[in-house]
Subunit: 482 residues, 2 copies
């Protein structure tokens, strides 16, 4: 790849212009995040008055740093951008090393004021002159968990052990706040989510959706792409790019501005016209781009697809330990026209009847079983195994409320043994919902730390299951045509 | 009230038949829950082999307890129900004191086996003979937070300080598991929810929806009624009851079996026919009963209505600190046809422009303002005050992502000062969404502990706001007609 974005995600040394010693300032948190994630190369804080911050030597100017700097993070007040660009020119004439700038600071083009536009022009024009790519301005920054780069000023409270953990999800957000929310919510799951690459693109003054999509298309570590999008100036080109990539990797889009008023708010925000939503919507459907409507649906669908296992078809079995939540699930299921309750083989029904408590409901309706509140760990695990062994079942939604007398840790361990150790999770998708708030948090954590994602409610399982089938069918249709 | 349910929610002494000294058994947890909630009268554990459990003296038989017992909880194996009923008869002939039985045990009529039906008949017929009401069998039990009664065997992990805390919500569930989930999820909020009265009705062999609805109709402490429902044998009578009560108190229903297959699963579960969903749906609409479709929507709507403040009309202002989440909210908002973005007065716009950061978007579109990520605590609080002061605004959705450099505790305290101390929360509903996972948990907790509910996402605020308007308009229409 020649577009310099390698230096964004895997830079040889980073300078933080506007580094601060005040823990409440973004210029401090960026340094702290770089240290926390374990960025392995050198960091150069630029600050006129400090000697060192967080134990790292400071420099007064970027041009004073002797060693190579490929990535520059700007978190200075926007008024001084002109001085900083002058200093950058001095550096480039001498060293010619900087390849990317992440301008986290705001008060640029997005203000639509003459000063803001002038500042942005200065930044972009100077950078262009030296072939430097710019992310932002007015963005949260980027994270690369594999290369251990975190330029954000978002304090996610991500536990240290989760930093640097691999994941196949790469995410692009046009809203810094939504990006931050997703990072913070992801850090608040039973086992915190680790993105592969994460980027907040702010004003898209230079690096934009298409640059990043093309980068993620080639990036072997990116298995699934997520996008939060308000608008893009060249919709046709964006759709063409999305359509090409969706044949190789799933792309999930939360596009706002669906309503006329929402589009107006989007236009006030990023200035980019949302474009007729119906046009986008039709294109998404045609080209296999998965559209989601809520933040929860985005998180669930990203993580389901990151498992790497697609279902063979739309036969999704509902296996529940609890009647009410099972029926609730069935209603949500029937809303998704794409899903079909499978008729399992007689031997599967016979086996379920044999192993389960007397009161269990086996396949009434077809494709649905209630193992009842009397089910112990064995009943949970073996009924799941039995259903997954049936050739007519493509995936399973598995719901349990975990009564007080059922040992939660043993349940989690039993499921891990089946799904991970015995390899069942690699055969078919399973959507696990363990429904009881904080009471089952540790139980869910054991599963998630073993790579088995859990969902908050049965309806969340259903949405994820439907999107998985949707993408599988799209791939099938593409292969049929090509 | 003459239907003995007073003795269910405020019994003079309780016997627990089947009390256990094993902390993993339901018969132990019930005792523990009664102690934790601080039940103020006497508890008599009945257990043939133990001398005392949790420091309370045990009795071998119910008939041996000398003091008055109004409520009996049964958590014994169902096979011995015949012996227990024989002993109950001995007691009733001697003391004639028991008024209600909560039969938490399963393996009764719901099994549809001859033995199960025989056991249930024995229980119900014996009770009837002595005018005793029966809740269950096959239920989780009941909670009354005001009278400090908790007969459930659900370990909610509700902090001790939340037990006995007043709330206006009374909830009836036809599914024990769903009831347990709601209790456990409610206990997992930033500030745990405290229901007023909570009841899982199991098989409805005696006490049913109508008994409880009539009780809650009269109960002054019940401000809002929630119901999870699968089916009811006399739909007409149920609707009549709901319709009468909905004119006085809001009723929120999560009715499952919406789909044909869901109805079939419901029938397999509780045996009660779900009834044509369309008939219920039409009746709910006609009689002002609020129908919700997800568990989250139920929780949010119950708590919004429990605030006791209804909006005057449907003019709901969106005030956001973050563009992306604001636009996301606007889309969800436009999906609810009932809501209308208000055009505020010129002086309101002028004031917002004066007090907010330069970059703020004031009323483009109308009824929407973005105070921007530059907003400090003052900007948050004063913009909310300004919008709430406008006569054209009936309620406000307030979204913030809380950047790292904004002090979260001060923000919470600023909002508490305005909404609680200055009384703004009593003027108009405000739906607050502070979007950043665990990072803002403490901030949300401060608000919730001061009676100001927070919501997980902007879309959740929108659903609650729409249901509040829906109920207000229903009340207006009823008053117009009467």
């Amino acid at each position: 790849m020649s577009n310099n974005l390698d230096a964004l995600f895997n830079p040889r040394n980073i300078a933080v212009v506007g580094a601060s010693s005040n823990p409440l300032k973004a210029g401090y948190i960026i340094l702290d995040n770089l240290l926390s994630i374990g960025y392995p190369k050198k960091i150069f804080p630029i600050n006129v008055s400090e000697k060192e911050i967080l134990g790292i030597k400071c420099y007064k100017k970027l041009s004073e740093v002797e060693e190579k700097v490929e990535l520059v993070i700007l978190i200075t007040p926007s008024e001084i951008i002109f001085d900083i660009m002058t200093d950058l020119e001095i550096r480039m004439k001498k060293k010619n090393d900087v390849k990317v700038i992440v301008c986290a600071a705001a008060n640029y083009g997005e203000t639509k004021t003459p000063e803001g536009i002038r500042r942005q022009d200065c930044l972009i024009n100077t950078a262009k002159q030296y072939g430097i790519r710019v992310v932002g301005p007015n963005c949260i920054g980027i994270i690369d968990n594999i290369n251990r780069v975190d330029t954000t000023f978002v304090e996610t409270l991500l536990p240290k052990e989760s930093r640097g953990k691999k994941g196949g999800i790469s995410f692009i957000s046009q809203s810094g706040a939504l990006a931050a929310s997703i990072l913070m919510m992801g850090a608040s799951q039973p086992a915190p989510i680790s993105m592969n690459k994460f980027i907040s693109i702010g004003n898209m003054a230079d690096v934009d959706f298409i640059d990043l999509l093309e980068y993620f298309e080639q990036d072997e570590d990116t298995k699934v792409i997520g996008m939060y999008m308000e608008g893009y100036p060249d919709g046709r080109k964006l759709i063409d790019t999305l359509a090409r990539i969706a044949k190789k990797k799933p792309i999930i889009v939360l596009k706002v501005g669906r309503s006329e008023i929402g589009a107006k708010a989007a236009n006030s925000h990023t200035g980019s016209l949302a474009g007729a939503d119906a046009v986008y919507d039709a294109a998404f459907r045609q080209y296999g781009i998965i559209r989601v409507y809520t933040i929860e649906e985005m998180m669930d669908t990203l993580q389901s697809l990151d498992s790497g296992i697609l279902p063979k078809g739309n036969n999704v079995f509902i296996l529940t330990q609890a009647g009410g939540p099972g029926i609730y699930c069935t209603d949500a299921y029937m809303d998704e026209k794409i899903l079909k309750l499978p008729v399992v083989e007689e031997k599967t029904k016979k086996k379920l009847t044999e192993i389960l408590p007397d009161m269990a409901n086996v396949c009434s309706p077809e494709g649905y079983a209630d193992i009842t509140a009397a089910a112990n760990v064995y009943h949970h695990v073996e009924s799941l195994r039995t259903v997954m062994d049936d050739d007519g079942v493509d995936s399973v939604i598995f719901i349990t409320v975990v009564p007080t007398f059922l040992p939660r840790k043993e349940l989690a361990e039993g499921l891990v043994k089946l799904l991970k150790n015995e390899g069942y999770a690699k055969k078919k998708p399973v959507y696990i919902c363990i429904m009881a708030g904080n009471y089952v948090w540790e139980c869910r954590k054991i599963l998630e730390e073993n790579g088995i994602r859990t969902y908050n409610t049965p309806a969340h399982c259903v949405k994820a299951a439907a999107h998985m089938v949707e993408y599988k069918w799209f791939l099938d249709s593409v292969r049929g045509v090509e």
